[in-house]
């Protein structure tokens, strides 16, 4: 399945019944060099739109929100040692969290890749 996006620049990709979540390449570019990522604990239940992680760059620290509700299955431990993965491969190896969605169809309410590209264009 292709990726879906939020207005807050998170992406979600379903892999079986697990949702892989990260921040978009556009967001990573805007943040500049990422120096630290704070990830949630495994098994944590997160509501849609609630704080899921914190991403810190040389310029600013920003909250990353859960694009859908779910419980944390796995976090990307590689980011502890290599936060630069977020800049280099934001939408692949730079993923943040794997969630087990509370509701499998929630992801369909998010923007498609084309819709997100259009949305980003509008931000100038």
């Amino acid at each position: 399945m292709s990726k879906r996006y939020t207005k807050d620049h998170e992406w979600v990709r379903m892999e079986g019944d697990v949702a892989i979540v990260g921040i978009s390449a556009y967001a990573a570019e805007q943040l500049g060099d990422v120096v630290y990522v704070e990830l949630p604990g495994v098994n944590k239940e997160i509501a849609r739109g609630a704080d899921m992680a914190v991403v810190e760059s040389a310029k600013a620290a920003s909250d990353v929100y859960a694009p859908i509700a779910g419980s944390v299955v796995e976090v990307n431990e590689a980011l502890n040692e290599m936060p630069q993965l977020v800049n280099e491969q934001a939408e692949k190896d730079g993923w943040f969290v794997k969630l087990r969605p509370t509701n499998n169809t929630d992801v369909l309410n998010l923007m498609s890749e084309a819709e997100y590209a259009e949305y980003v264009k509008g931000l100038g």
Partner: protein, 507 residues
């Protein structure tokens, strides 16, 4: 141009290693006689000398003077940091602070011997309450964030007294707030709920209303806000939060724009800290500790912390215990006495009319800079509504005009170092991408503002011209070239480690 010297010094700027790198254990500044008699330390006696750097007195003095040559200070030049109010520290303040009876006090002296100091604290409290139109004051918090903590603890105590502390946990914080606001709320056990901003950089009143409910404890708001803009709906926001059963905490960091002109009490504020080191000209940071007194409304006054100063039969007394259910103490003694002396000196030397002029001139200076820089930089929110609308005490610009050239805010900041200026606040507020926040304060002359504006305009022209590469590698003339901030954050080295550990252990 690179010009290598044999000494490593650059002109009269001395090269200086870390103190650990040039001290020697064999050297000392003080020659003490060997202790007489047998040691009674037994097995606890030191087996090897402590690996501390030893320096003679002239070496120690030179070390710190050399380092201070690399420093920048308000006594050296304009310090345009936004939201920091880096104004001149009048020398009259210093003279008063050094007067006997203020400078040689001990906090545990009998109060019959400290009546003058208590009178000064009482007078300072009176001025703070008159200026803010509020009911009670706690002088003791040590700086802004400590003041916020004190104010929010009082709100917590008031909610506890109402039996609502377990119900009202949500604190509303505008997304442009100082980072300390949400941090304070969380430190006090609240949950932060962000209120979005409008296109004009103000609190979105509709979104704010939608967030009100019987689980809201308070709103934390800065006015003027961190975009340097007045929040015109502040009274309505106060009325709405009160109607919803919550309190209004005002971050007083930007009070320099309002002092003598607006009484926060009239705006419906329940608690506000006042940075004496901003608005009332006491030194920042290395020049002296901060001080963050908090003023309280009638609703919160019973929950203010101790100590309090009261008068009885013409004498001043300290109430050392807070009332039932109130915040206990914020610190062991009475706070930063030296700052109280400086702040009251500043108030008395200005008078109420002079303080009003402080706010007026601070706003005028910021608008003068904004007007000169607006043709060359993008000013988000137009510096206010409409083409010619004013800002308050600080001017907000960003780097969008230089996108095509790849010149960013950080390159302006580093280029300012070459021009001999401390940079403005960069990348804050977070709601503006590539923000540059400039607060000149009222103590800069027009000539000084013009000199700074000329530099900024020249940099903007350079960014758009053929020589922009020079900005990407700035600073060129500072003691250090551009630092790798990313690597420093990813792989921080936070302490010096001995390279010759073996040789020290052998001694």
């Amino acid at each position: 141009m690179t010009y290598e010297t044999t000494s490593g010094n650059r002109g009269l700027l001395q090269a200086e290693p870390l103190i650990f790198e040039h001290g020697s254990i064999a050297r000392t500044g003080v020659d003490l006689a060997a202790p007489k008699g047998a040691s009674r330390l037994g097995a606890l006696a030191r087996k090897a000398p402590l690996p501390l750097p030893g320096l003679s007195e002239p070496e120690a003095v030179r070390h710190y003077v050399r380092l201070s040559q690399r420093n920048y200070a308000i006594d050296l030049g304009l310090f345009p940091l936004g939201s920091c109010t880096m104004k001149h520290n009048p020398r009259l303040n210093e003279r008063a602070a050094r007067m006997e009876g203020f400078s040689d006090l001990h906090p545990l002296q009998p109060i019959s011997t400290t009546q003058g100091a208590l009178a000064l604290m009482h007078e300072l409290s009176h001025w703070l309450l008159e200026l803010t139109g509020l009911e009670a004051v706690a002088l003791s918090p040590k700086a802004g964030a400590h003041g916020e903590f004190c104010g929010m603890l009082a709100i917590r105590a008031a909610l506890a007294a109402r039996g609502e502390i377990n119900k009202r946990l949500r604190v509303l914080v505008p997304e442009s707030a100082h980072g300390t606001n949400p941090a304070t709320a969380v430190a006090c056990g609240f949950i932060v709920d962000e209120v979005p901003a409008t296109e004009q950089g103000r609190v979105d009143l509709v979104a704010f209303k939608a967030k009100l409910g019987d689980d809201v404890a308070a709103i934390m708001l800065t006015n003027p806000n961190t975009c340097g803009l007045f929040e015109p709906d502040v009274k309505e926001i106060a009325d709405l939060i009160h109607a919803a059963g919550g309190y209004f905490y005002c971050d007083g960091a930007n009070y320099n724009a309002l002092v003598g002109r607006v009484r926060p009490g009239d705006l419906g504020v329940d608690a506000m800290h006042i940075n004496l080191h901003k608005t009332f000209s006491t030194p920042h940071g290395g020049g002296g500790p901060g001080a963050g007194p908090v003023v309280f409304s009638k609703a919160l006054a019973p929950f203010a912390p101790a100590p309090k100063i009261v008068t009885r039969d013409g004498a001043f007394e300290l109430v050392e215990r807070a009332g039932e259910g109130a915040v206990g103490r914020m610190c062991a003694f009475h706070g930063q006495m030296g700052m109280y002396v400086r702040a009251l000196t500043y108030m008395l030397s200005h008078g109420s009319d002079g303080l009003r002029q402080v706010a007026e001139d601070a706003v005028l200076n910021a608008n003068y800079l904004l007007a000169r820089l607006k043709p060359h930089f993008n000013a988000p929110f137009g510096g206010g509504e409409g083409e010619h609308a004013p800002c308050m005490h600080e001017a907000l610009l960003d780097d969008t005009r230089f996108k095509a050239q790849g010149v960013e805010t950080i390159d302006f900041a580093k280029s300012l170092l070459d021009e001999g200026y401390h940079p403005m606040t960069t990348y804050f507020p977070l709601v503006v991408h590539g923000a540059m926040l400039i607060e000149p304060t009222e103590t800069e002359s027009k000539a000084e503002l013009d000199r700074f504006a000329d530099v900024m305009i020249a940099l903007a022209k350079r960014a758009l011209g053929n020589d922009s590469a020079r900005m990407k590698t700035a600073p060129h003339l500072a003691p250090m070239r551009r630092l790798d901030e990313t690597r420093a954050a990813r792989q921080p080295k936070l302490r010096w480690k001995p390279t010759e550990a073996a040789s020290i252990a052998a001694e």
